[in-house]
Structures are given as structure tokens and as C-alpha cells.
Symmetry: C2
Subunit: 493 residues, 2 copies
């Protein structure tokens, strides 16, 4: 904890890396592009998993597990899919190492005799392997819908990586479903996007836009891709979750057919949807400040830290007993509380450390608090203090945590709204993008070539065509051709 965090105003990217590493959420590994998720980061991910898993099960999904390996020929079966993933993947070609040379010169080399007949790809996503299994399991309309989710690691050979946001290997969940009709698949894809939006807003306290991606930005192999998009403090967008209506593309590639009630055979309709450990990065970037992490109470592994304060002739034993009592009362009330009774560290040092770790609420108990029969509650967000009678702790503290949760979402929404600009001219748009960034609401002609040109000229992409965007006639921000609505442009992570 000795090192300082680079202020956001100085270098936002450095600030992010400092916060993630110094709060011990993650660390760089010896494998290029791969990170280690340390206990403080993993505990947050576990809490996110627990909530999401419950939401998936409540919407009728069951978990299963499919192989890490995808046969090369499987990847090739869906034309656009292979284009999307073939250029950056990890390929297993051999299965044995052997010693070469002897003594001190001995080296471990790949045994050429162990070459696989068909190479295996480490899954970058599992559509191909999963729908090949669905084809075995589905025969009749009675077997539909089939609603499966998988928690897994996936690998995409990324060139430029960043802790949590973009790593070669990452953890995620991928939902995969099969339906009898396009309408049902559409409903499912939209339902799961709503689940993601609810999770982002109600648990992560990150406001998101909901809508669909353009043809250019959609998932390789999908008919339509829906997404939720968030805005980070530096004015860049972050795609926080996607849900795809796959149509019959994979069903046709893997012969996933079912017999209808009237006896004829039809291809099924699929959806897939996923969120990943990049959401941990989103939480860091959405709420963190120059003191470190700020975690939303509903997901924080430690929600409240209790710090006893004493010096000189203070009644240490009684202060510690009161602090233990408060910790116990909070735990019984279902609050993840932790007592920090270390006696070799000053209160100030402890305050800094727990602020760095993002604990939403600190409770201080000193001799004066003891006298008054109350405790001092300090919010991580703004250090606002409130004094709570000790007996009220089990009800007042959960209420304070909910208050913090609401305030975080409101603050993030206010920041997002303050960074959303309607722009009409291309120069205006470029100036914004070179300056503060943010979501730029601009007219677009609908032409992919124009979209590509804007990307090349400004680095901004169309993040989302929102569901609730108003009709408004106008002219494309770049080419001037007519447009019927604005879309959200931004530079993105």
C-alpha cells in the first residue's frame, strides 16, 4: 500500500492499473496477456456470479459444461463465425513433450510424433461445440425451448491487453438456447439483455443504454446483436454485455432440427448471451476515485469495516469489546462486516487501506463514541459522517448501505448524462472526441462504409442504436445523406 495512485486527471489509464494492482484485485502473470485474479478481485466476481446465476435460474436456465476444445473443422462450419475468430485463437497441435539432448544441455521440446490429426482450438466462445450437442439432444418440439448456461474460461489471442478489460484468457458465462420459432428466440434474446441491464444498474450501480448493434459491430454469426453500453469516467464507452439472436445460422451449420407437432422437420432458432470478468473493470472505472476502489454495497465482499480507535489511557478492552459487538450484530443482520483490530497500525493507515480496497462504509468506535453509546459511520464515497446509536446498528447500517448504492447509481447516471452530447457537425464531433469524449448522439445515414470511415477518421464507433431513441429527421454527421434518428457514437474500451 506504500505506492501512490496516479490521479485520474494526470493519467486515467495509469490510475486504472494502479487501482487494480494496488488494491490487489489482479496482477500480471508470466504468460503474455493473461492475468491473475487475486482474492480481492475474485471475491467480487464470485458475488457477481452468485447474483447472475440466480437471475439465470429464475428465468428457467440450467447450467452445464462443455469441452474447452473446439475441433478446427467445427469453427469453419459457420462462415462469418470463423472469420471473426480464426485470426486470434490458441491452437493445440501436439500432446507430448520430450527431452532433447542430455545432461546440462537437455531441453524440453515438442515431440513431433505427438501431432494431432485435427488441431483443436481453445474455445473463444462455444456456439459450435454447444449446438453440435443440442443437435443430439433435440428431436421433438417437446424438447424445446432448451435453456442452457455455462460458466467457463475462454481464450482470444488479443494483441493489446488490459487487466480485466481485455485479456487473452478471461472468465465469463455464455447462455445458449434453442427455440421452435424466431419470435421465441427474439423474446429470449431481449429478456436476457434486460437481465443484464437490471444487473448492471441494480447491483453494479452502472447505468446502461440498451439497444442493438449495427451490422458492422454485431457478433460473427448472429442475425442481430443486442447490447448494454456504459460510459466510464474518462468519457469512453464500455460494452458491458451482449445478447445475440442467432437465427438459424448455427442450426443449419450443425443440423439442429426438431419435429413439429404436425410431424415435419424444422431448424431451431438459437440465442447466445454473455458477460465476463470485464465487468469487474467496469465497476473499477465507473466508481473509483483517486483514493482507490469504490465498490457498490450490493456486490462488495466486505460491506463494512469496523475500526476501533484508542490511544494512551483509553479503555482499550472496552473499545475492542464494543467493536466486536458491532461486528457481530452486523453479521447477524446479514451484513458482510469485518473488524480490523490490528494493533500495530494507526487508524489513519487503516482508513487509507480500506478506502483503497473500496469498502463502502467504515464504522469508527473511539472512547467518545463509547461514552455516547453510538458509532461513527463514514461513507467511502464522500467521507460523510453520521452517528448511529449502537442499538440501531442492525437496521441503520443496512439502510445506509442501500443509500450508498442508490447514490452511486445516481452519481454515475449524472456523469453519463453530463457527458452525452447531441452533435450535428463532423468537426464538432471530432473536437468532442479529441477532448472530453462521451456519448455523441449523431445522425448516421445507415451505410456501413460511412460507419467505417468515421471509425478510421475519429476512432469512434457506433456503440448502440438504442431501443428508446426518438425519431428525428436529420442528415448524416459525415456524408450529409438523410437519417431518421440519432445513434450513440463513442470511443470505446
Amino acid at each position: 500500500m506504500a505506492k501512490l495512485i496516479t490521479p485520474r486527471s494526470e493519467d486515467y489509464a495509469r490510475w486504472y492499473t494502479d487501482v487494480v494492482t494496488q488494491s490487489r484485485m489482479a496482477d500480471y502473470s508470466p504468460v503474455k496477456g493473461c492475468m491473475v485474479i487475486r482474492p480481492h478481485g475474485y471475491a467480487l466476481w464470485e458475488n457477481m456470479q452468485r447474483v447472475l446465476d440466480r437471475m439465470f435460474k429464475d428465468t428457467g436456465h440450467q447450467n452445464a459444461y462443455f469441452p474447452l476444445f473446439i475441433p478446427k473443422s467445427f469453427l469453419a462450419k459457420e462462415a462469418r463465425h470463423v472469420e471473426g475468430f480464426a485470426k486470434e485463437c490458441a491452437i493445440v497441435t501436439h500432446t507430448r513433450l520430450r527431452a532433447s539432448g542430455s545432461g546440462d544441455d537437455a531441453k524440453l521440446v515438442v515431440d513431433p510424433a505427438s501431432a494431432l490429426e485435427e488441431e483443436l482450438i481453445i474455445r473463444p466462445t462455444s456456439e459450435t461445440i454447444i449446438y453440435s450437442m443440442f443437435a443430439k439432444w433435440v428431436q421433438s418440439y417437446r424438447d424445446l425451448p432448451l435453456l442452457i448456461n455455462q460458466w467457463a474460461n475462454v481464450v482470444r489471442w488479443e494483441m493489446r491487453t488490459r487487466l480485466f478489460l481485455r485479456t487473452t484468457e478471461f472468465l465469463w458465462q455464455e447462455g445458449h438456447t434453442a427455440h421452435a420459432t424466431s419470435e421465441e428466440a427474439e423474446e429470449e434474446a431481449r429478456r436476457m439483455l434486460d437481465v443484464y441491464a437490471t444487473f448492471a444498474e441494480e447491483y453494479m450501480a452502472v447505468p446502461v443504454l440498451r439497444g442493438r448493434k449495427t451490422e458492422k459491430e454485431k457478433f460473427a454469426g448472429a442475425e442481430r446483436t443486442y447490447c448494454i453500453e456504459a460510459l466510464m469516467q474518462d468519457g469512453r464507452a464500455l460494452q458491458a454485455g451482449t445478447s445475440h439472436h442467432l437465427g438459424q445460422n448455427f442450426a443449419k451449420a450443425f443440423d439442429l432440427k426438431f419435429q413439429t407437432e404436425s410431424g415435419d422437420w424444422r431448424f431451431a432458432y438459437n440465442t447466445s448471451w454473455g458477460v465476463s470478468t470485464r465487468l469487474v473493470g467496469a465497476i473499477v472505472m465507473a466508481h473509483g476515485d483517486d483514493q482507490g476502489l469504490v465498490l457498490p454495497p450490493r456486490l462488495a465482499p466486505v460491506q463494512v469495516v469496523v475500526v476501533p480507535i484508542w490511544k494512551g489511557t483509553d479503555p482499550v478492552e472496552r473499545i475492542l469489546a464494543a467493536a466486536e459487538g458491532v461486528e457481530g450484530a452486523l453479521k447477524r443482520a446479514g451484513v458482510a462486516a469485518k473488524l480490523d483490530a490490528r494493533d500495530n497500525l494507526s487508524p489513519g493507515f487503516k482508513f487509507n487501506e480500506w478506502e483503497m480496497l473500496g469498502v463502502p462504509l467504515r464504522i469508527e468506535i473511539g472512547p467518545k463514541d463509547l461514552e455516547k453509546g453510538s458509532v461513527c459511520c463514514v461513507k467511502r464515497t464522500n467521507r460523510a459522517k453520521s452517528f448511529v446509536p449502537t442499538g440501531d446498528v442492525p437496521t441503520a447500517v443496512p439502510a445506509l448501505l442501500e443509500e450508498i448504492q442508490r447514490e452511486l447509481l445516481e452519481a454515475a447516471r449524472a456523469r453519463r448524462d453530463a457527458s452525452t452530447f447531441a452533435v450535428d457537425g463532423y468537426d464538432e464531433m471530432k473536437a468532442k472526441l479529441e477532448g472530453p469524449g462521451g456519448f455523441l448522439l449523431a445522425h448516421w445515414c445507415g451505410d456501413g462504409a460511412c460507419e467505417t470511415a468515421i471509425h478510421e477518421e475519429t476512432k469512434a464507433t457506433i456503440r448502440v442504436i438504442t431501443f428508446d431513441g426518438a425519431s428525428e429527421t436529420g442528415r448524416c454527421v459525415r456524408c450529409g445523406r438523410p437519417s431518421e434518428r440519432r445513434v450513440h457514437f463513442a470511443k470505446a474500451y
Copy 2:
């Protein structure tokens, strides 16, 4: 559900595969040696994970996540470790596919220009990558003990695979810890073995022997390997969990040092310990019968199925309402209950199906039960019936489930004990191994050469040198040299 299960007496291996596939716990995948864990099998694994994870956290461990990839050079750093794993591993050598040829003749080939500078091994276990990180994180004795667990997939390129019991990829947890002294590491290794034994007996209802492995059978890189060993219904042993005292072998290979209180630098002591999805196979083989799975109530995803029964002029509505009432009362009492109200299937069909799926208790509600104000409870194990007044269901059913849990453990223990034989002659031992199998308690001289010869001549291995084995002078079952105690031999999965 239409196919029959091969009886155990006819072909135990076929019976096992029939039960696993027909109960839809798992299926073969298109990738050689890899399986798909289907929802019914995965839900059981999730329950096992939940209990184990709680036990790990209660003993002070935290979860983290380390990379899937191990640099080739890392594997080579611990000499015995590489010997143990180099011959059957998945090796990533390239990172890009490209099209070769054009049109209909186009093929997807590995791009030779994408060869990695250093090949990566898919983790067969994570000692090397984890201790390389520990070396970064540990500086002082104050950083110890470091108690980490990881839930992950691992890959070992097995030639002969079997659903759950031995697959190329499998799911597991691996605990990795670092300690200041050998004594503390020893205590940790033994503590976690006890956790595994408690889990096996109290949750899986599988009795286990606890002890250590011989030098020949220990983990590649360990000083000492402890294990729990179970006996399956066909008289073969199954290693159900291992815990290793790694000494300073990996600490030296990865420079994992700490500064003591007095200021000098020492290598840390490590332990590692793991259990895997093979435990799902152990549950199948320990309790299953010719009707299918038998799941222990404390781990069963569905603990109770409620089947309403009606025909002809019976008051269907009232029977269904009563069944719904019972399901609701059970759920409120914390029981995983499921109502099977499908009206296109006969009660007999439903009974068979839920028996196949291993649900521990069936509750039948028909017109007579309605009249009497009671329900009929049928145990999966022996079809024993008991009638419970409807109002007593919330207390009587959990008690019945606990009774079943106890009976399963007792029955498995009785089978194990009845299949444990003291043998003194080599011919007697061979005859047992060719016949019923079981644990054979025999004297052994302690010589690895003799152990190897016995393995080659009989296919049996020394499964465990139990902690509680009695001292007894005797002569080695094969060579006649003196021995001070008996050890457990068996053929094993």
C-alpha cells in the same frame, strides 16, 4: 428413458455408462476424451462445490484464479514434476488459422507464421504458475501462511477415458498454500485431507480410508502424498482426493522465499490438494443400482419428487391442490422438492424416471391419501413406504432424508468392510483379485521394486498406507521379506 440399463451383474462397466448417459448426467462430446456435463450432472457438481467451498473458506482459504497456460519452461523447473506430466499434455503452438486454397477447395490451416516463441501447456495442475506468483507476493513471514484455492478446468491427455472418472479435460479445485515451517505445511496437508474425508462420508455417504501413498504412487514433485480411498461396488478402489506436502521443492524451483522475524531469508513450504468431477462418478458407483442413480439427500439437486395419482372419476383438482400444497410446504422447510404434474404420463412411468434420476424420496398422493389426510413416502433405496400425516410433512420429510443419508453411508460401509480381506499368500491375493476384488490387506516389504512387480503381475497397486493401520510383524506377500504392517492393495479406477 426408453433404453434399459445393463444390470450390474452382467457388465459393471456397461451399467456405469448406461446410468451416467441415460440419467442425462453426461454425454460424449465430439472431442476425443472430453465429455459434456449435462444439467442433471452439473447440478450435483454445483451442490458439491457449494459445500466444499464453504469448508475451504471456514478453514481460512480464499479463492483466486490463475492462467490456463503454463510456459513450457515453467513445467521443466521441477524435475519430477515434468516427468509426471510432460508425456500427456495439450500443447499450444500457434495462434492463427488462415484459409488455404480457394472456393470449394478452401481449407482452414494453421498459419505457420503465428508460431509462439515458447509453447504453452494447458495446465495439467497449477503448482508451477501459482508458486511463481506466490514468489512475487510473499516477502515477509507476515505474508504467511498464504492459503489459496482455485476452481478450474485442467487437461491431461489420457489415452483411455471414462465419463467422469478419467477424462482429458476435467473440472476440479486445487488448493495451494505456503507456510513458514514444515510442521505448519504438514498440519495443513493433513487438515485438508480431513476436510475431504468429512465431505466424502457426511455428504457423499461414501466411506473412505485415510492415509499416505507409497513413494511410487505419490504426486510428481511432492515430499508426501496423503489420500482418501473408497471402494466401489465392483470391488475396485477409487482415489477420491489427495493432499500433498510439497516440502520446499517448488519454493526452490520458483524462488519462493520469505524473510523471517530475525531477518534471514528462507524458502517457504508448500501444500497442494484437490478433488475433481471424478467424485460424481464415485457417487454413481458407490450407491447406484439396476434402476439407475441413487443420490445422497444432502447433495441431491432434487431431494423429493411429489407425484399426484389419479384415474377415472378421482377428484383431480383436489389431488393436484394437495400435491402443490405439499411441494410448497417442503420448499418452505428448505427441501428441494419438485412436483411432477405432467398429465400425459402414467404414475408408473414417472416412478421409473425419477428412480433413474436418483431422487432420494418420492411422495405419492392419491385419492385414498387425500381421504386419510396423509401422503405416502417411498425411499429410492429400498422402496420402503411410510405414511406421513400431511401436516407433519415439513418435519417428517427432512427426518426421512437424514435417515436415508445415514442408511446409504452404513450400507456402503458394510459393503466395503465385507470386501476387505486380509491375505497372506500371493496365490490367495491373485485369486481374490481375479475374483471379487476388494481391498486386500497384505504385508509388503517396503521395496518399490516389489511393489512394481506386484502391479505388473496382478494389476493391483498399493492404494494407501492407512494412518490407523496396526503394527503387526509378518512377511511380504510376494517376496517373503519381513514387514511391520499390512497395507491396502486393490485394483483401482
